[in-house]
Each structure stands twice: as C-alpha cells, then as structure tokens.
Amino acid sequence: MTSKKVILTGSFGVGKTSLFNQFIYSRFSDKYLTTIGVKVNKKTIEVDGRTVALMIWDIAGEVAQDKVPTSYFLGASGIIYVFDLTRPSTYHSLTKDIDYLQDLTKGAVIKIVGNKKDLVSEADISRISSELPLPHDLLTSAKTGENVNELFYQLGAKLLD
C-alpha cells in the first residue's frame, strides 16, 4: 500500500480541523494542535482499485504561511490550502502563500479549497470566485460534509498518478 504525506494548511479559523475531523476519526485529541502546532492522522482510501494511505498533517493556522515551521512541510506529496469563503482576509494573500508553498515543497500537488460553503449564497460564490487571485479547486462545507470526501479522493487520485 502506498503512503503519502498530505498537509492541511491555511489561516486560523478557516475550518481545517473541521474538514480533517469530518473526513476521518481522530485518534489524537485537538490539544496537540495548540501545543506543538500540528496533529497527524491517517485515512486509507481506494481510488480506481488502488489503495493509498493519506497521512494528514493538520497544521495550526497562522496568518502568514511563513510563520509555520518549515520542517512540517518537508516530504509532503500533497497540500490542501483552505480559505474561508466568509472572510476575504483569508484569501487576500493567496498568491503569495501558494508561491511560498510551491517553493517549499517542489513537486507537491496543491489543492486550493474554499470552505464554509453553507454560509454563503450562489451570488456571493460568483463574486468571490471573480475576486480570487488564483482559481480554486473545490468549495466545501465541513459542517454539511459537501465535497469533503471528493476533495480527499481527488487529491488521492492525483497523488497516485
């Protein structure tokens, strides 16, 4: 079975841990997030008949990505960058953050995800999409579960390519 390291990152309060908890049962409590700034868990999925274990590192949110210890990103095959659809401040630095992450993790697959879809209207979504400096890959709701599984399965498929 293939194992891949996936990082969940983005500003604080965007819903990373909620997405994480929605997707998998969490063995370690959330206190690790506040003590060492990261929590690791595993989810095994099957994509096109192939099994992949996603080792997901849920990293505590920082306003700027370069505040997060770089060693957490080392060896990552995939990165899920999450922003909050209801807070523009969480996607204003999108280009700078993505450039930084691409430099740090050369070759890693990066998915840009807008969370809290359940809190915005379709009109808002169109407006936000036009405002985004980079195109998003998926819009999710950790609360309702919309597109959460799709996100991780899409990423898993890309990592197995």
Partner: protein, 280 residues
Amino acid sequence: MKRKDTTGSEQEKMQQLQEILLGKERAKLDRLETIVETKEDLSERVSPIIEEHLEQLRQQFPEHYRRVVDRMMEEKIKSSSEDILNTLYPVLGKMIKKYIAHQFQLLREAIDQQIRRTIQRLNFWQRFKVMVWGIGDTDLLLVESKAPQILEVFVIQRDSGLLLGNASAQKTVDSDVVAGMLTAIKAFVEDAFMDGSQDLGMIEYDHHKIYLQNFPAFFIAIALSGVISELEKGRLNDHLLDFAEQEITNKLVIPSEAGFTHISQQLENRFIGQESQLLH
C-alpha cells in the same frame, strides 16, 4: 551474319585484352574480397593494428583523459552525495563511538591507578576510614529495578514521517500515526529549541523512554519500558547502527511495500524479545 561474327570476335578480343591488362589486379581484388569476407583472415590482419592502438590508448589514457575522468567523478559524487552519506553515516557513527569509549577507558584506568597510588600512601587508620565511608563523591548506588523491555521499534523516513518499517511486542497502536506524530514532535522540538542544528535523542515519560537514533534520510525510534543503564544504552545503540548499516539500503529509504516488509521482518528478528542479547 558476318557482322555478328565480327562483333562476337571483337568482344572476345576485348575480354582477352582486359585479362592481359587487368588480370593481376582482378586476382588481387578477388583475394582482397576473400580476406574481407572471411572472418579469420580479416581478424588475422586487423587484430594486430587494433591491439597496437589499444596499447597506445592504455599508455596515454591518464595523460589525455585524466581531467575528463576527474570531472565525471566530481559530478557523480555531487549528485550521489546523499547516497554516500547514507552509506557512511552508520559506519562513521560506530567508529566515533569506539574511539570515545576507548579514550574513556584509558581515562578510567588512569584514575584507578592514581587512586591505588593514593591509598598505598595512607596509613592504616586512613585506609580503614576510606573502606568504611567510601571515597569522596564516587559512591555507586545499585538499585533494584525492572528489567528493560523493548516495546516497539520504528524506522521512519526523516522529512515526511512516513513509516519505513515497524515491529512491536504488543500490537496496540496505529504505527503510521505514531510515526507521523513522533516526526512532528521531533520537528517541533528541533525547530523551537535547537535551531535545526541538533537532533532530538530521547523522549522520556515515567518508566518509558523512546530513544531516537538519527541518520541522514531516516531515523529509528525504539520504545522501551524499565530502567536502562548507560552501558546497556551504548550496546543498544551499537545494534541500531549495525542494523542501519546492514539492512537499510538507499533504495529502502523510499517507502515501498516490499521495503516495509523486509525492514519490519528484520526489526522483529533482531529486536523484539531480544533484550538479553542486545543489552548484555
């Protein structure tokens, strides 16, 4: 008819003329053709020339090609520096340990000799006092303690935290997740307190310890219960270095199913239930 006969006779004359003029050349040509097409004949003629050129090349090779070879070796070493480091690290670690242990042994013997000389100079009453109350601060305390037991061994890819192999005395935890969390804790401590210049060596909690032996591309974490002396720790470390040198090749530092099976099997054979051999 006469015209035809004349043409035929002219042709015959031409042929005869050609044979007279070109007969020798034709014969030479036939001979050459035979030589070229017969492997043995050709080889007999060409081989000495090739041998001579090869010999010249052998003699002149260093002079003409030294710089090219040096440059190629330099590029190869640069591109393979990680592989070279992975191969040398366990060997260097053992060499350094042996040297330090040897120096300590010499120092200890020198101290012992000095103490003996000192005691010999004491009178009877002074010797009695030393025997009863000991010598200064060098008291040794032997404590009855629980014998050490190896609970789990993990081989973990250094940067990603992905598990390369694992063996356990009691299967209770998800090894992949523990490997990831150990890597995260290690990264946090090294980043927060060591400025990235040193490696975390041990995590201690109550009577349990997790020793971390670090290598360039991976680290080995060994979880123990019980009390372990410095001497036993040194012996365990030697076994870990041996294991890394003998079992973890450059190919196996990239996670794979076959690699995982091999490393896990070797960990099981060498470490689980082997405390008496490893520590004494």
